[in-house]
């Protein structure tokens, strides 16, 4: 028996998806923000129990563990990270602060600056200069370098980014500075720009390197601790980590660039969403993930979730690594409901996992969305919550709603709860409209794929607001990002800069750069136990016309196995230039065939495939009206009424649930609002449609 396990650490819960052949087992435990690896181990323990085996047996049989985490995002959101400094080329101290002139809102003069990761006093410069061709214009002034490093040391710096001009062409000075830091400030973390993001220009590379320095120690410490715990408990393989690009790779690969795990949880959900949608013939999707703290919106068109590199602003910092586009709103089950200047507001503050909503009974005192939907009867103290991890408690909830909301608003507790429900709905609808209208997409043309613990509670009413006709709720929705990670392929996507006219390019130099990328990628794949003959290598070249700033990546060849890079010759160069002219015509409607383009660099996308979950759909089972297990008083938007309750695990393909109805799944609750009905498809997933 061999298992594959996806783990997604979120702000409130840590989700698990165990894949055993075609069978999927879900688990969910409360996150442990102080040390997230505790929750990971606790959840694995529960998975083992559920299989009736020991943790050691589970891990020994685990063929892969794929992991996504919010550790890096949280560091940026909360600005909790090491004291970070920057060493850079003399004369370029302020590039980071000047941001190439960028401001997020050109119309709002009241926009505040982002908190400085490396304020000016911790950005120190060193006389040195490499030129565009890699030659040394000014040698590194080691005495000045020592003084700068000591200056950072006096300020208690714990992590240092080193980003020098043209280091991606010639890294000799960056490497030497790194050695000096190690010598003078042993134990301080070091991020070198030519390793984190070896490409021009300086602001993008410097910012990415500084963010890497800020989030890196936390991520590395966490992953090291986790790897140690996992191997101590019997896991023999490499830990695979989800990247923001939608691919996974080994922990070792990410050692120099932990920044690549930013936004990895949402990326897992979107990749999984695209696969589920495709299996159910819905290729244009609005993916919404409502968990404990946030509401993430992304769009999949034609089954694709594109990842863009370069001008990515993430939590107000530029991060130039490839990222899947996800927009986040501070609205989740833990979002705090409060009265501000006489008006009800929901979020963006969240009660998180600890103390969590009042109804968790862990000391929470402030009303949250989860408490509101408990009052509305959409959740119940009688049913198990989070897979039986604990029951919800009504104690203290009503008193808090009276004190914080109903009193100040002069209404009843139930009315206050209903207003919270309405308001969080409207906030989410606006977030979706900003995403879709901003891209010129009519949400009515999409299907809504809802996941996250709280997504299905709101999914149908969201669809109603947005004019969407079809809602998909995978049975695995509560741990969907964790499952999605199992659908992502191990991928290494890297570039090397080589700025030269295509006419004057040295074939041998291009081959050498590809060989370097290939050897590097295959090395990581081999170390992770992936046979190199199963790695597909896509060789690409980045080209532009003289005077242009942005390049196009031209596919040169796709090869498999070792030493594939040797294929390149003058004929292949000619073909590549020809393809570039064609591609430019396709992309921009014209080309400049009479001109010789410039090469800016080479790129290699290496990918291997691993067994992935089987997603299915369809309705071949005989339709059957499902039988409720009971009923309770609940408000589904048209006042309190006695509402039938269905047990999710008892429902089978073909089953139909009519409105009003509440389906209690192991880790989530699906509300069938008036005007809708739910059907279980052949895969056991739910499709909600307008009632006939």
């Amino acid at each position: 028996m061999s298992y594959r396990i996806g783990i997604d650490v979120g702000g409130t819960f840590t989700d698990f998806a165990l894949l055993d052949g075609h069978e999927v087992l879900l688990e969910k435990v409360s996150s442990t923000p102080e040390d997230n690896s505790q929750a990971v181990m606790a959840g694995l323990e529960k998975l083992a129990q559920a299989r009736g085996i020991s943790l050691g047996e589970l891990l020994a049989d685990a063929e892969a563990i794929v992991h996504g985490t919010t550790v890096a995002d949280n560091a940026l959101i909360q600005m909790k990270g090491p004291v970070t400094g920057l060493l850079t080329t003399a004369g370029f101290r302020d590039e980071l602060e000047l941001r190439r002139g960028y401001k997020e809102d050109i119309w709002d003069v009241r926009l505040e600056p982002p908190p400085a990761i490396a304020p000016r006093r911790r950005r120190l410069t060193v006389p040195e200069r490499i030129r565009a061709d890699g030659s040394i214009h000014t040698p590194l002034d080691e005495a000045a370098a020592r003084r700068a490093i000591e200056g950072l040391g006096r300020q208690g710096v714990e992590s240092i980014a080193i980003s020098l001009l043209f280091a991606f062409v010639n890294p000799v000075h960056e490497k030497r500075l790194g050695e000096l830091v190690q010598e003078i400030l042993p134990g301080v973390a070091i991020s070198l720009s030519h390793r984190v993001l070896p490409r021009a220009p300086e602001f993008e590379r410097t910012s990415t390197t500084v963010v890497n320095a800020f989030v890196g120690p936390g991520v590395s410490g966490y992953l090291d601790r986790l790897v140690e715990r996992l191997s101590g408990a019997g896991y023999a393989r490499d830990l695979l980590v989800m990247q923001s690009s939608g691919g996974v790779m080994t922990r070792e690969y990410l050692r120099d660039m932990p920044i690549r795990i930013l936004a990895s949880g949402p990326a897992g959900g979107v990749i999984g969403g695209a696969r589920v949608g495709a299996a159910k013939s819905e290729e244009d999707l609005l993916c919404v993930d409502m968990g404990g703290t946030s509401y993430d919106v992304s769009v999949v068109m034609g089954g694709q979730a594109p990842a863009n590199a370069g001008w990515n602003w993430h939590h107000r910092y530029l991060v130039a690594v490839p990222m899947i586009q996800v927009e986040t709103l501070g609205a989740g089950g833990g979002s705090i409901c409060h009265v501000h200047h006489g008006a009800l507001e929901v979020g963006p503050e969240s009660a998180g996992a600890e103390p969590g909503p009042i109804c968790y009974g862990r000391g929470g005192q402030q009303p949250t969305v989860t408490d509101a939907i408990l009052i509305l009867g959409l959740l119940s103290p009688d049913s198990e919550f989070a897979g039986g991890a604990f029951s919800l408690k009504r104690e203290g909830v009503d008193a808090a709603f009276e004190r914080e909301l109903a009193g100040p608003l002069s209404c009843s507790v139930e009315e206050a709860a209903f207003d919270c429900w309405r308001l969080v709905n409207a906030n989410m609808t606006q977030a979706v409209r900003r995403t879709t209208a901003g891209r010129g997409i009519d949400p009515r043309s999409l299907s809504l794929l809802a996941y996250g613990g709280n997504g299905p509670v709101f999914a149908a009413i969201q669809a109603e607001d947005l004019g969407i006709e079809c809602v998909l709720i995978p049975r695995t929705s509560p741990a969907f990002s964790a499952l999605g990670m199992l659908a992502a392929s191990p991928t290494i996507d890297e570039e090397r800069s080589y700025l030269v006219s295509a006419q004057e390019a040295e074939i041998s130099r291009i081959s050498a750069l590809w060989q370097e990328l290939e050897a590097r990628a295959l090395g990581y794949f081999l170390d992770a136990g992936f046979p190199k003959e199963e790695v597909a290598l896509r060789f690409q070249m980045n080209l532009r016309y003289p005077g242009q700033n942005w390049s196009l990546s031209v596919e040169v060849a796709t090869k498999g196995g070792e030493s594939a890079a040797g294929f390149f010759d003058a004929g292949a160069m000619e073909k590549t230039i020809h393809r570039f002219h064609e591609l430019h015509e396709e992309e921009y409607g014209y080309n400049r065939q009479q001109e010789s383009p410039e090469i800016t660099g080479v790129r290699l996308v290496s990918r291997t495939s691993i067994p992935e979950p089987v997603f299915a759909g369809g309705f071949s089972a005989e339709p059957r009206q499902a039988e409720p297990q009971g009923s309770r008083r609940a408000n589904l938007g048209r006042g309190f009424e006695e509402t039938p309750i269905y047990r999710g695990p008892d429902l089978a393909p073909g089953d139909r649930v009519t409105a009003p109805g509440i389906i209690e799944e192991t880790f989530t609750t699906i509300v069938v609002y008036p005007g809708w009905e739910a059907r279980v498809d052949d895969a056991g997933d739910y499709r909600l449609m307008r009632a006939p």
Binding site: D94, R99, W107, H137, F203, A437, G438, P546
Partner: protein, 606 residues
């Protein structure tokens, strides 16, 4: 006569005829789609263009006009320039019949006397027709060209006395007829431009406008042309309503300000911009009567279309930023630009440099005037540099190249109530992506030596202006350099009692025995390895510096935004220790005494 044309072009235009009813949500979705189309069109141009000023600096703007030539939507670009295309498009629209407009057409125009901004700013536009063959909307793209075929390379002549010296003026010209490129017209444009990259730029503008028109087509197919028209009407009305609603909350009165430019390019001093902003109920009038009209002034003439755009760019920064930008803004404000002054020049005046000054002073004057009643949103949306130091050379193949100097820098990033100046520039220029050394040096024979902020060049104030940077560049081959210097005698003004920003200064052949300061304008020959150094002015301070939190001043000193000496002299803050040792301590008692002394000295001053 351009005055008459201008009067006609800005005359208020009627709502579109439509029988469709529309709800606010649908109107919002269609408006969002407009913004997306503009975004995609501008992005297309930015990626496909050949010259750095477009593809790297984002100096390109997309907007959509409706069938009546009203501004219906725009992308995030440069506010001042986003408001310019409508008048150029309206000039074209006046010739709808005679020019035989039809689907698949693309036009270009850049003539300041026929709705244009200045010559380098080409407006390329493509109409979109509905299923009945009726004009629905026009997609426009505006972008700055590296050359205009005038007497000097680069389009900026510091001594031009008329527009013909600046280059080729195009009132309107069809480049594509029913989808077929007019190669004769395109060849003429390319022939009148010095830079080989121009052919790529104009091709990218044409294909961008075509793409925008095609996306508008798809939008009309999806929603129906009448729904789109109803949405345009709804959004323009809503913008006017919201703008007037804000104005009605302002205290009635007349608020005036004067701003001066050091000199024109030949040394005529103290060029004046005057504004009177009158608030009466929900009506706002911005009247620039009283601005300079000396006929002998050279190069400080801002075109009519630009003056209108720069005034509006400042006004929209002073109201709720969520108000949608469209024709409703112009419906809500009366802007008076007196004929024959530097804000609406006589015909044939040179226009290139006027887009820097007095264009920016129009915004600055409005900001100072309205800061009396709108402290929360007072921040001048300006760039006070004369012009960037442009460096021009010829490569080994005999082709001309130009580094236009749109380099990363801090300049004019001013404070407003509660917020210190930050980033590079004012928020309105937040989309202008500044050039990087690694790109420029891969392309041109230059070496960027430094671009760090200079301590104490930000205006002191309760809220502090961001210091300006000193950009130092070395040319590696003999080159021509063009410069124009202002804002040294009259730097950016502090607001509500804040200090002025640090002044600009500019030196050529730095460190050699030939070193000299640029006092006004210059077109200089630089030898190989010459160094030029441009000190940019900082941002303006806001309110009295003696009111600044002393702890914030200590932080400023640690970050070397402010020196220990300036902390004492300008902020009245006494500090002990050294920056080098990171042990700066605040002496609160001495600070209290010093501030009292400084206040007393001020009061006793004449």
């Amino acid at each position: 006569m351009s005055y008459e044309i201008n009067r006609r072009l800005v005359r208020p235009r009627q709502a579109l005829e439509t029988s469709a009813e529309i709800d606010s949500v649908t109107a919002g979705i269609i408006r969002g789609a407009f913004e997306t189309i503009c975004f995609e069109t501008a992005t297309h141009l930015g990626r496909a263009a050949s010259s750095a000023i477009i593809n790297q600096s984002n100096e390109r703007n997309a907007s959509i006009m409706d069938g009546h030539g009203r501004l219906a939507g725009l992308s995030v670009g440069i506010p001042q320039l986003l408001f310019i295309s409508p008048l150029a498009v309206r000039w074209g629209l006046e010739h709808f019949k005679i020019d035989d407009w039809g689907p698949g057409d693309v036009f270009v125009g850049n003539d300041p006397d026929h709705g244009g901004g200045h010559l380098p700013d080409y407006n390329v536009y493509a109409p979109c027709f509905d299923a009945d063959g009726k004009l629905l909307a026009i997609q426009a793209l505006q972008a700055h060209q590296g050359d205009t075929g005038g007497k000097d390379p680069g389009g900026f002549s510091v001594d031009a006395t008329d527009i013909y010296q600046e280059g080729m003026a195009i009132p309107r010209l069809k480049l594509v007829h029913r989808g077929q490129a007019r190669h004769d017209a395109l060849e003429m444009l390319v022939r009148n431009n010095r830079f080989p990259s121009f052919s790529g730029d104009i091709a990218a503008m044409v294909s961008g406008a075509q793409r925008g028109a095609q996306l508008l087509d798809e939008l009309a197919t999806k929603w129906g042309a009448d729904q789109v028209r109803a949405a345009i009407n709804w959004n323009i009305r809503e913008t006017e309503r919201r703008f007037r609603e804000e104005v009605s909350c302002w205290p009635d009165g007349c608020y005036e300000a004067d701003v001066w430019i050091d000199h024109d390019t030949v040394g005529n001093e103290d060029v004046r911009v005057h504004v009177a902003c009158t608030v009466a109920g929900d009506a706002l009038t911005v009247d620039l009567t009283g601005s300079d009209d000396r006929p002998e002034l050279v190069c400080v003439w801002n075109t009519f279309s630009n003056s209108r755009g720069y005034a509006m760019a400042q006004l929209v920064s002073m109201v709720d930023p969520s108000i949608i930008k469209n024709e409703g803004l112009f419906d809500a404000v009366e802007i008076i630009l007196p004929e024959g002054t530097i804000v609406q020049p006589p015909p044939d005046k040179p226009a290139a440099l006027g887009a820097f000054h007095p264009a920016c002073e129009i915004g600055e004057a409005i900001c100072i005037a309205l800061s009396q009643i709108l402290p929360r949103r007072s921040s001048p949306q300006v760039y006070k540099l004369g012009m960037p130091n442009a460096v021009i050379g010829v490569d080994a193949n005999g082709q001309m190249w130009m580094d236009q100097g749109v380099d990363v820098r801090a300049s004019d990033a001013s404070a407003t109530e509660g917020i210190d100046g930050w980033g590079s520039m004012c928020s309105g220029l937040g989309n202008l992506v500044l050039a990087q050394a690694e790109d420029a040096e891969s392309r041109f024979p230059v070496l960027n030596l430094s671009r760090e902020m200079t301590t104490d060049t930000g205006g002191a104030g309760r809220w502090r202006g961001q210091p300006g940077t000193r950009n130092v560049k070395q040319v590696l081959e003999p080159t021509t350099a063009v410069a124009w210097m202002v804002s040294k005698k009259h730097p950016l003004r502090g607001l509500r009692g804040g200090d002025d920003a640090g002044p600009y200064s500019n030196f050529f052949e730095v460190g050699s025995e030939n070193e000299y300061e640029i006092e006004n304008s210059v077109q200089a020959q630089l030898p190989a390895d010459a160094v030029i150094a441009y000190q940019y002015g900082g941002g303006a301070g806001f309110e009295d510096a003696l009111l600044r939190d002393p702890e914030a001043v200590r932080e400023d000193v640690l970050d070397e935004y402010v020196s220990v000496e300036a902390a004492r002299a300008r902020y009245g803050v006494v500090l002990h220790g050294s920056v080098e040792a990171y042990d700066i301590e605040l002496d609160l008692e001495a600070t209290r005494r010093l501030r009292e002394e400084l206040r007393a000295a001020r009061e006793s001053a004449p």
